[in-house]
Amino acid sequence: MRETKLWILSLSCTVLIVVLLGIHFAVMHFTPVFYGQSVEKARSFTELMARGRDALQMVVYILLLAAALYHGLYGLRNILLELPGSQGAARAINGGLLLIGIVFFVYGSYVTLWTFTH
């Protein structure tokens, strides 16, 4: 049951990723198509900080970070757990990936909040 819940959460994350990454692509990578602005200008420090002060953008990026980290590390966990090893190794994989996820989520969220407040 626990594994089913983890899988459903990963499945839900994919939907979130498609929507939020679509927004990220439009804002950062396909600006000539969506905003008539060069990619270089969109990536400039001034533009980046100006966009980062928007509360909606902050929420979008924190949600995207959480969904992408969960989906990616869940997939990596599935691959690693297929490899031969003991129950102890499985626990180490679960704990290690959870730790990586938390560290990157905290750091990424801090960067986003820093941008929002500067």
């Binding site: 499945l11 994919t14 498609v18 990454l21 990578h29 396909f30 000539p32 198509v33 990619v39 270089e40 990536r43 400039s44 420090f45 001034t46 980046l48 900080m49 970070l65 992408a68 980290l69 990616g72 590390l73 997939g75 990596l76 691959i79 757990l81 297929e82 490899l83 031969p84 090893g85 003991s86 129950q87 190794a89 499985a90 990586i100 990157f104 750091y107 990424g108 960067v111 820093w114 941008t115």
Partner: protein, 153 residues
């Protein structure tokens, strides 16, 4: 975790060991298109998670100020980084559309209705295959369009 079976000498009556390790990703015999998509899905997924972690670290450079950020962005305009960016884009498009196919399959869509096994045998895999071809064709179109947007701008 999967237990590794002990190695035994082969004979006609003994089944082939079903644990092939990481090598089994690349060769497990009797390949179909779905098997290649499985390998590509794993490889693209591993590449994307590595990219995500690097991307989070790279995003933090902004906290060092405008100069450090501008220098980093200048690096990303080099042809090598443009190529890497395109590889990430290709990996994402493939992973997303093949992932959509996998989720539809796991949820039971596009597999057809169960039927009696009457010769010539049909399979859910064959009934599912038009969707596979359609999604991979869409991936190919987006990958080509992305090349014009990322590589040649």
């Amino acid at each position: 975790m999967t237990a590794v079976p002990e190695k035994t000498s082969h004979s006609v009556s003994q089944p082939r060991p079903n644990y092939l390790g990481v090598g089994g990703w690349f060769y497990a015999g009797r390949y179909s298109i779905e098997r290649y998509l499985y390998i590509l899905h794993r490889l693209s997924g591993l590449g994307l998670i590595l990219y995500l972690l690097l991307h989070v670290i790279e995003s933090g450079i902004r906290m060092q100020g405008a100069e450090a950020w501008t220098a980093l962005m200048a690096l990303f305009t080099s042809p090598l980084f443009k190529f890497f960016e395109y590889v990430v884009f290709v990996g994402f498009i493939f992973h997303a559309l093949n992932g959509l196919r996998l989720k539809l399959t796991e949820l039971g869509f596009f597999l057809g209705k169960p039927a009696q096994p009457v010769y010539p045998y049909d399979s859910s895999l064959k009934r599912h295959r038009p969707l596979t071809y359609a999604l991979m064709a869409l991936a190919a179109i987006l990958i080509v369009l992305g090349a014009s947007s990322i590589l040649f701008k």
